[in-house]
């Protein structure tokens, strides 16, 4: 097994911290103006109020999936994410300030405020995502097909949840990718919950990775929410794609620390589930690996955390102080 080098290990750790800090900050900022007494009419919560309106799906706990996979990618590889996209975007290198501005609906946002948190597009870093469950796989196949036809070494990654593995697009795309030997990696983030429905109430088999066999493809299951384990599984899959040997399905058993969306009362979830999951937080686990390798000590840890805090603060400050788009822009950009 080829271990990640020091630079990659540091990047993985810093990026996981950055994602976590980002999501925790967003969880706080999202609540601004949404709770009494800021809102009227006897509501307990108003989804439309505050600086960040609309739904908010946060990925704290799922950092290993994003960094373990994206550690192997280049700028020109394509990543298509999900409705819960921040960790993927951050790990793919999408600029934090423009992404945050998009989530604030500002003119400096990635899509000039037209997409919002579920619809982040960064062509430069070849990142996109979709609010529709199961929508990531077909365009990832297309990006992979383009790479193949253009003769580049680029690959594409489609991230999706375990709930999305029951969509037709999953099966259509796995078949297409295997049939055409496309340089694509399908990464199933199994966080055990499709909103409120647990996997065993939605999926007839225990492991989605087994479904790969139906398409003549290797399926790999990463049983632990561990960045190093994801890294090793993804390495095989990415190498296979890059060498022109076709697609792989990688399933990662990961953990969702927040609700499906912010404001989700999570009545469906055992009360102590998250506190149990947090005992296996993947961030300190990776930190311990770095320390064991002499890549981290108390001093550098504090320094990294300060840098991460500063980057997140700056991104939110950029978003808050950016102007809104003018109303006239609403009718622009439908067509070139």
């Amino acid at each position: 097994m080829t271990e990640p080098n020091a630079q990659t290990l540091r990047w993985m750790y810093e990026t996981m911290l950055l994602i976590r800090r980002y999501e925790e900050t967003m969880a706080q900022v999202y609540l601004e103006g949404k709770l009494p007494p800021h809102i009227q009419m006897g509501l307990a919560f108003d989804i439309a109020s505050g600086p960040v309106p609309g739904e908010m799906h946060l990925a704290a706990g799922q950092e290993p999936v994003a960094v373990g996979v994206c550690a192997h990618l280049t700028v020109t590889d394509t990543v298509v994410g999900t409705h819960r996209p921040h960790h993927f975007a951050i790990a793919k290198g999408v600029p934090l300030d423009h992404m945050t501005a998009e989530i604030f609906g500002k003119a400096t946002g990635l899509g000039r405020g037209k997409g919002g948190h579920m619809h982040l597009f960064d062509p430069e870093h070849r990142f996109s995502c979709s609010g529709i469950v199961g929508a990531s796989m077909p365009p990832a196949c297309g990006a992979a097909l383009a790479a193949k036809m253009l003769g580049t070494q680029d690959i594409a990654v489609a991230f999706f949840g375990e709930g999305a593995a029951n969509q037709g697009t999953f099966h259509e795309s796995l078949n297409l990718a295997a049939l055409w030997k496309l340089p694509v990696v399908f990464v199933c983030e199994d966080n055990a919950w499709a909103i409120s429905v647990p996997k065993d109430k939605a999926t007839a088999i225990h492991s989605n990775a087994k479904r790969a066999a139906a398409y003549g493809m290797e399926g790999i299951t990463v049983e632990r929410n561990d960045a190093m384990e994801v890294y090793h599984a993804a390495r095989q899959a990415v190498n296979r794609a890059r060498l022109g040997h076709g697609p792989t399905l990688v399933e990662v058993k990961t953990d969702r620390y927040f609700g499906h969306f912010q404001g989700d009362a999570e009545v469906y979830r055992p009360k102590d589930e998250v506190s149990q999951l947090r005992k296996h937080d993947p961030i300190p686990a990776l930190g311990a690996t770095l320390r064991k390798n002499g890549l981290l000590d108390d001093g550098s840890e504090a320094q990294i955390r300060d840098q991460v805090d500063a980057r997140v603060r700056a991104a939110f400050e950029f978003a808050r102080t950016s102007p809104y788009p003018s109303a006239a822009e609403a009718t622009e950009h439908a067509f070139a």
Binding site: T78, V80, G109, L110, G111, R112, G113, K114, G115, H119, F121, D122, P123, R126, S128, S130, I132, A135, M137, P138, P139, A140, C141, G142, A143, A144, L145, A146, A147, M149, L150, D154, A156, G168, T169, E172, S173, N175, L176, L179, E332, H333, A334, F335, A336
Partner: protein, 344 residues
């Protein structure tokens, strides 16, 4: 026009695709049975032999996957043409079309360029029943983010296809089976016409006045243009002179040509093979209604379309719901006899 030969619409479309594939290596086509079969309606006939299976790519019956892949390939620099065999099959892939292909450019603030042509077969009149006979172009025109092209003849079909391939936006290109010039389906001769050998474009958003007339403006697209022209020929003997407008594209829509014509004739019939309600005919009627401060009507607007039922199978039933040359002629006679209520 140099080097014009007579081509069928299917031949003209295939020629357009072939010439653009010669010109630009980023152009490729994928769809069900587009390779050795040449497309069920021959829109890619002969192209596999010229370009091979990488660029004329047969797909599995997985419309969501390959239409979504067209979006992804376009975002990554290619210029794909995807064929949805019948427009009626949109139900199995509409999320990839209208939530992604149509919206991603807007949601990206104009950053993501998606030069995709989605071509698809439309139309009934040959007993293929409710799931293989619809037009549905108005459904696609209703949703923002897609250009909508509906050619009526081979000359336009070639120029509009080349324009579509060169456009940096998603274009849905609808060809009517009954004007493709297929050896196994009756078609209107007027659709098979002179087509220059060289590549050329027909710009979007420019309707064609295909017949000038004084009394009634008939607005149509696709096969209905030919039915309107046949009705005009018949009515000429009765002294009724039709002006026939072929819109050619619905998005963008050439409103001015419609207004100019209705301003001249004062009478408007929209003859449409798509569903009557909430569609093309209502849109054109609204375009005119909104401009009645500038032009005057001599009679209320009339509309023909498929009334609120799916396309029936049985021949007399299908003939009863799809507007015909006869129903267009009848509607025009009624328009000539009708008057506006001046008392109101």
């Amino acid at each position: 026009m140099s080097n014009a030969r007579t081509l069928t619409m299917a031949q003209a479309i295939a020629e357009a695709i072939g010439q653009e594939m010669d010109r630009d290596p980023r152009v490729f086509a994928m769809g069900e049975d587009i390779g050795s079969y040449g497309g069920i309606f021959s829109a890619t006939s002969g192209l596999l032999a010229r370009f091979g299976p990488e660029r004329i790519r047969d797909t599995p019956i997985s419309e969501s996957a390959f239409i979504g892949a067209a979006t992804g390939a376009a975002a990554a620099g290619m210029r794909p043409i995807a064929e949805l065999m019948f427009v009626d099959f949109f139900g199995v892939c509409m999320d990839q079309i209208y939530n992604h292909l149509a919206k991603n450019r807007y949601m990206s603030g104009g950053q993501v360029k998606l030069p995709v042509v989605l071509m698809t077969a439309i139309g009934g009149g040959y007993g293929d029943a409710a799931q293989h006979s619809q037009c549905l172009y108005a459904t696609f025109a209703h949703m923002p983010g897609l250009k909508v092209v509906v050619p009526s003849n081979a000359y336009d079909a070639k120029g509009l296809m080349i324009q579509a391939i060169r456009d940096d936006n998603p274009v849905v290109y609808f060809f009517h089976k009954g004007i493709m010039g297929l050896p196994w389906m009756k078609y209107f001769d007027g659709a098979t016409n002179g087509v220059p050998e060289e590549a050329y474009t027909v710009p979007f958003g420019q309707a064609a006045v295909v017949r000038e007339g004084r009394h009634v403006t008939v607005v149509a697209v696709s096969q209905m243009v030919h039915k309107a022209l046949a009705a005009a020929k018949q009515l000429q003997t009765e002294g009724i002179d039709l002006e026939v407008i072929d819109l050619r594209t619905l998005v963008p829509l050439d409103r001015e040509t419609v207004i100019r014509s209705v301003g001249k004739t004062g009478r408007l019939l929209i003859a449409d093979e798509d569903y009557l309600e909430f569609g093309l005919s209502g849109e054109i009627a609204a375009v005119v209604a909104e401009r009645l401060d500038q032009i005057a009507l001599k009679a209320p607007v009339r509309r023909l379309g498929v009334p609120g039922v799916p396309i029936p199978y049985s021949r007399p039933l299908e003939e009863a719901v799809i507007p015909s040359m006869q129903s267009i002629a009848d509607a025009c006679r009624l328009l000539m006899d009708a008057q506006l209520n001046q008392a109101a």
